[in-house]
Every structure is written in C-alpha cells, then in structure tokens.
C-alpha cells in the first residue's frame, strides 16, 4: 500500500519541528485565550521561534508571559525585551517582587524564589482568563516531566494530578476545560537538550549571551559555581574566582549554577554535550536536589 522513497523522509529534527508546530496550531484552534510562557531561556527561545514560523506571515496569535522572580540575570531580561519586540509579541510580565512588595507573598527562608513563581503564574493565568499556557518543558528534563502530556490538564486550583491524567492517543489532543480550569501545552515534549541545541545551530536562533562561554566572577558552593552579582554575594569563607563558564539552563541567579566551558557557539555546545555525562538539571539546578520528587511536588502545585 504505501510506497517508500528516501526523498520523502523527514530527518529527526524536521519531524520534531512538524510535531511542535502542529501542537501550537491545535492550541490556537482549540483554546480561546492561550498564552506563551517565556523565560528567556533556550527552550522558550526555541518555542517562540517555532511559534513565529507556525503562524507567519501572520503575527503571533497569543501574548507572551514572563514570570519575573526579580532575581533574573540582566542579560536575560534584555534578551527577553529585545526578542519579544522582534517577533512583534505583546509581552506581559508577572512580577514576584511586586507580589512580595504588596504582601501577597512572603519571602521564604533562605530566599529561594523558585516556588514563589507558582502563585504569581497562577494569578496571572486567572486574572487574564488564559485557558492554555504554552510552555517549553521537555520530557527528557526530569522524571516527573517524563510523564507529562502534550496537553496537560490543570484544575481550578491550577493543580496537576499525575495519577489522573487524560490518556493521549495518536495526536488527538483533548483541549476541553471548564471555566476556571486551564491547560498547559508542551510542544517540545519530545525534544532533548541535544535536539534543542542542534535546532538552535541549524536555525541560527539567538540566545542570551550567558549560554556561551565567557569569563565570570564565581564562588564555589556545594560543588557548584554561582555567579557573584547583585543577587548573590559571597558568604564568609568563600573565595571569589574568575572562571570561563557558561550556563546550561537559565533561571534565578541565586539558584542556577554555571558550568566550566570553552564552547562559544551552538555547534561547540553540541560537541560538549556529546562528551558530557551530567544532565542539565543535575549540573545547574539547586531546586531539584531538595528531594527525589521535588519537581513532581512543584508541578502538582502549578509549576511550569
């Protein structure tokens, strides 16, 4: 019945691209008020790039939302504003700092703001009436995310119930929600970190400069290198040293570590990753070491 020809065969990246664009299209076709979550990191940069390709020559059919912890790297905020302007997207910023200043949130012991993003994100989704939040999360990142759907249901409290997920068969996505509930949609579900970098290289996608090797003042803390800057001061006994580093993930300046690297291009990063034996979250995210299921616990509450 079918015929075969190598000429009619997609490469792995082409197939992942088609899948992601199809998912973006389903979100827009099925949901009333979608929003794209944008952190300024590489995954959301790829997501935004795919969205621009999916809908052109028309503009983005949804706004872009950034949850700003108030502890972001300056390069990332600058990149965020510039990129949103370039694709002509309407940028919304939900601020953890504002919520703290207004007394709607209280700072946690130790000052980690990772979990504080959850109520701020949910409040933004509720106040704008969004029924779908499109995110750049990937299943290969973390074991709880390995169980995620492309269209992932959130109840009226924004919660994820991993034991009661909708079965997702073929590419027939169930986007139905009642008022007050919403969906998270993950077009990059099947991408790996390497796929993201190969795609960045192939498509020439611009990223914040801190993804590439640069010299930076850092302190070593619990085996990780943290950048010294406005959001992080050396503790007594810590020595500030300058190292050639880059970031594998971009999050809070207080919770995201740098890795030693000399890779200055996406191609060099692909080579470096092929030789690496540590995962990106294992190399850089203090928040994931809190417990075996810390990502699941945060996701249940409504995390990205």
């Amino acid at each position: 019945m079918p015929s075969a020809s190598p000429q009619y065969h997609l490469t792995q990246l082409e197939e992942l691209e088609a899948e992601a664009i199809f998912v973006l299209g389903e979100v827009v076709a099925e949901c009333e008020r979608p929003v794209l979550l944008f952190s300024g990191g590489k995954d959301s940069a790829v997501l935004l790039h795919l969205a621009a390709k999916a809908f052109r020559p028309a503009g983005l059919p949804f706004p872009i939302l950034h949850v700003d912890t108030g502890r972001n790297f300056a390069e990332v905020l600058e990149f965020r504003d510039r990129t949103a302007a370039r694709v002509g997207g309407r940028l919304l910023v939900a601020s953890v700092q504002e919520a703290l200043d207004a007394g709607r949130l209280v700072e946690r012991a130790g000052g980690d703001r990772n979990r504080l993003q959850i109520p701020v994100l949910l409040e933004a989704i509720a106040s704008h009436g969004f029924d779908a939040a499109i995110g750049g999360a990937r299943r290969d990142e973390e074991k709880a995310r390995a169980k995620e759907r492309f269209f992932s249901f959130r109840d009226e409290f924004g919660q994820w119930d991993p034991k009661a997920q909708r079965p997702e068969v073929w590419s027939l996505y169930n986007a139905r929600v009642h008022p007050g509930e919403h969906l998270r949609a993950f077009p990059l579900s099947n991408w790996t970190e390497l796929d993201v970098w190969r795609y960045v290289a192939t498509e020439g996608i611009e990223l914040p400069s801190l993804y590439f090797a640069h010299r930076r003042a850092v302190v070593e803390r619990d085996g990780w290198l943290f950048a010294v800057g406005p959001h992080l001061a050396p503790r007594p006994g810590e020595t500030v040293v300058e190292r050639r580093v880059r970031y594998r993930t971009v999050g809070d300046a207080t919770g995201t570590a740098a890795v030693i690297s000399s890779a200055t291009t996406p191609e060099a990063i692909v080579e470096e990753l092929l030789a690496s034996d540590v995962s990106e979250r294992g190399a850089t995210r203090a928040d994931d070491r809190v417990g075996e299921t810390s990502m699941e616990d945060r996701k249940r509450e409504g995390y990205f």
Partner: protein, 438 residues
C-alpha cells in the same frame, strides 16, 4: 549525516525485566547520565537495596516509587549516531491496557518482553494483540532472561512457536524474535557469545536498522485543515492559506484537489512550509496551502485527490478501547475528535466486547468498562471524512470525549463502512477475531 526518528513502545511487566532492559539500553547508549544514576543509587540505598534499582530511572512519580509499580506511560529518549528513539514505556498490568494503547498508538515498533522461563503468557498475548489491533508495523518479541535458562535454544524456540500459533490469528506485518539477557547484557547492544545458535542481530542494531520509511503512507493524499492563516497587515492583504499536517500522501503545487465534505474542486497555487515556499510537501509535514478560488474552508475539512477520496459518512463502525472510569452508555452523546474535526456522536449498538485473552467475541456484553475493547456502531452529527484504520492510522482514528466531565473516554479505530447487505465482519476483523466462539 541524516539522523532519523523511531517511535517505539515497550510492553511487559516488571517481572519480565522490562525496566532492566530499558535501563540497560539507556545506560549503554549513554542516555542516562552520571547524576541521574547517582540519584537512583541514593534512592536505592534509602530503600535498603544493595544495587541500584534501574526501575527508579523509569518510575518517576511519588506513588510509583512508594508502591514499586509503574502507573503511567513514561517517555524516554535515547540516540545513536544513526537514529534517535522516542520510547514510550508502558506498564504491563492488565488493568493498564489503556496505557499500552496510548503508547502503541504513536509507535512504529513495539517490543514485547517475554520471560524465557515463563514462556508466552496471557499477558504477552494481550500485548501482542493490542500491538496488532493498533496496527504497529513492527513487533519485536524480546525473549529475556536467557541467562536463567542456560542460554539454551529450546526455550527460545518454544516461545517462537507458541507465538507463531497465536499470531496466525492476528495480523502482523513484521515480527522479529531476539533472545537476550537484559541483566547480563547479552544481545541488547552487544552480540552474545553465549548463544552461538542465534544468528540474528542485537536488539539495538535491529532498532537502528528496521526499515520504517515505507510505513508512511505516501499514496493517499489526506490533508485535514487545522487552521486558516489570514494576516491582518496591509503587506499580506490578499494572503489566505489553509494549514494542516499531512496525514498521508504528497501534495504538489498545481494539483487539483477535492475539498471535503463539500466536494468542491480547487487547485493548489502555492505551498508554504514553515521554512518557506516549497513545490511539494509530504506526510507528516505541516504545510500552508494556497488555493485558486475563494472557497469556504474550515477547520476539520479535508483535501484529497478527486480519484482517491476517503469515506464520507455519518454512520461509523469502529473498534474501541474504553479509557474512562465511567463506562460506555449507548444512546448518550459524546464529543468526537477525528483528525482536526470535532462533532457529536451517539453510540447506537455494541456489536460485541472483545476478550483479548482468548480473542473471543462476547455478544452479550451490555457495555464497555475501562480497559475493555469492543466493536461499536456510532451515528455522528456531521459526516466524517475517514479511511479504515488498517489503511491509515491518522484518518482512521478518533477519540470520544465525555461532554460532562471532559474526560477522554475512548480511543477508536474505524472499520470500513458496512454495506447494508454485506458481511457483518470486515475481512480484517474476521481474521483478528475469527477463531473465537461468538
């Protein structure tokens, strides 16, 4: 070098050594990294285990780790220089049939794990039957734990023979048998010296080399319209395109096509792929189609060739796998999602419930409960443009959604339309369930 993608699913219970096999595949293709292994070692030590329990790599949810079972499909990623793999790891318990259906629905290959000591069990038969029903083109029977049967050929041949007898009642395009030991690593990624009687390849080599390009149906052009692009700026004042992902086939600029369900003829004046204009596009690409005439095109419409049209009907016959806790109710309204089309449908008749263990048809079954399969007739509110699932997995599949709860209630596979005077069972169906007493 062109690297392609293979989507596969694994089926088998913990006892078959599935987690060990996946752990070994991940480990030997360097897809598990040091910190992830260390995390598993820490967790295993906390559970009082002497060795790292590789199942913890796969079982990520709190409840799964607490209960030592796999509840939900987990997706794993591995790659070799030749190919990248998306692996849907599906739990094997009978009550998780829906998970296997989920994993198999997108898979081009299914690995069914069999314990060489146990031989072919009821559960292996169920897994194979689901793979057949879901039309997974390639099946691997991985006969595991060969180390525990002295690497002897006889237990392996016994599994092969038992399966061949069973499979003659099913419909498989390609079945491969591989004897291996996931624990010791025999024939997983490296050839075993302990089984000189086996002349085939390792599992990983088979996964890398199995020919999947021909599984894509490039004959029947089916382009379900997902959305319309109409830029609002002056530069593209007259631009209007219809976007969809090709379910099958090839479309070219200049083609004359039929727009269904209306039936009007249109000509393709331009094709825009995500990276720019193209002269032709093929499945599973996403493409924006520009047409010569200002026709009314909506989401859910379908473009096909005038001389190769799908069925268009409101009366549907389908095999269903029921997914929801709330059982099937005849004459209740359900939402149908089929390609990009959504409509309402009413199940009017349950022909039978299919018992996977013996492949019996139970005609007295009053309904379908969660994890049960059966043949159903439905009446849709609007005509669907479909092919039988056997010919086209995209235009032949649908889901039912419960209108009240919004739960995904069932996964459906369409059968050829039943002529009013024709045989009640399709040829495929008769073969599939032909030997069971009614």
């Amino acid at each position: 070098m062109r690297r392609d993608l293979l989507r596969l699913a694994t089926a088998g219970s913990v006892d078959d050594g599935k987690s060990t096999l996946i752990g070994r595949l991940l480990y030997e293709t360097k897809s598990v990294l040091r910190d992830q292994l260390e995390a598993v070692e820490r967790a295993s030590a906390r559970q009082g285990l002497a060795e790292a329990n590789l199942a913890l790599l796969v079982d990520g949810l709190r409840a799964e780790r607490e209960q030592g079972i796999t509840i939900d499909v987990a997706y794993r990623y591995l790659s070799t220089p030749r190919r990248s793999f998306i692996l849907a790891d599906t739990p094997g318990h009978p009550q998780y049939t829906r998970n296997m259906v989920t994993g198999a629905s997108t898979a081009e290959l299914v690995v069914v794990l069999v314990d060489a000591r146990q031989g072919l069990t009821e559960q292996s038969r169920r897994h194979a039957a689901i793979a057949s029903l879901l039309r997974v083109p390639h099946v691997v029977l991985a006969v595991n734990k060969m180390d525990l049967v002295g690497y002897e050929q006889e237990p392996f041949e016994a599994v092969r023979e038992a399966f061949s007898n069973y499979a003659s009642r099913l419909d498989f395009q390609d079945v491969t048998f591989i004897p291996l030991s996931a624990l010791k690593g025999d024939n997983v990624t490296a050839r075993s010296s302990a089984m000189p009687w086996y002349e085939g390849t390792t599992l990983l080599h088979h996964l890398e080399e199995v020919h999947v390009a021909s599984d894509v149906n490039l004959v029947d052009l089916r382009l379900p319209i997902q959305r319309v692009i109409r830029p609002r700026d002056d530069a593209h004042h007259d631009y209007r395109a219809y976007v969809g992902r090709l379910a099958s086939g090839v479309v070219r600029v200049g083609d004359e096509l039929t727009l269904l369900p209306g039936g009007s003829l249109v000509r393709v004046t331009g094709l825009d792929a995500p990276s720019g204009p193209v002269q032709e596009a093929f499945a599973p690409m996403v493409v924006a189609v520009r047409l010569d005439a200002p026709v009314d095109v909506s989401r859910g419409d379908l473009l096909a060739r005038p001389k190769n049209l799908p069925h268009v009907s409101q009366d549907l016959d389908a095999m269903l796998c029921w997914l929801d806790d709330r059982p099937l109710e005849l004459d209740r309204r359900y939402l149908v999602k089929h390609t990009t089309a959504s409509t309402l449908a009413r199940p009017v008749e349950l022909a039978y419930r299919l018992d996977l263990d013996g492949l019996h048809r139970d005609r007295a079954a009053p309904a379908l409960g969660r994890n049960e399969l059966g043949r159903l007739r439905l009446r849709a509110a609007r005509p669907l443009c479909f092919d039988e699932y056997q010919r086209n997995r995209s235009t032949g599949s649908f889901i039912l959604i419960d209108e009240a709860s919004n739960a995904t209630a069932a996964a459906g596979m369409l059968l050829p339309p039943r002529p009013s005077s024709g045989p009640e069972l399709s040829a495929w169906e008769a073969r599939f369930a032909g030997n069971g007493p009614s």
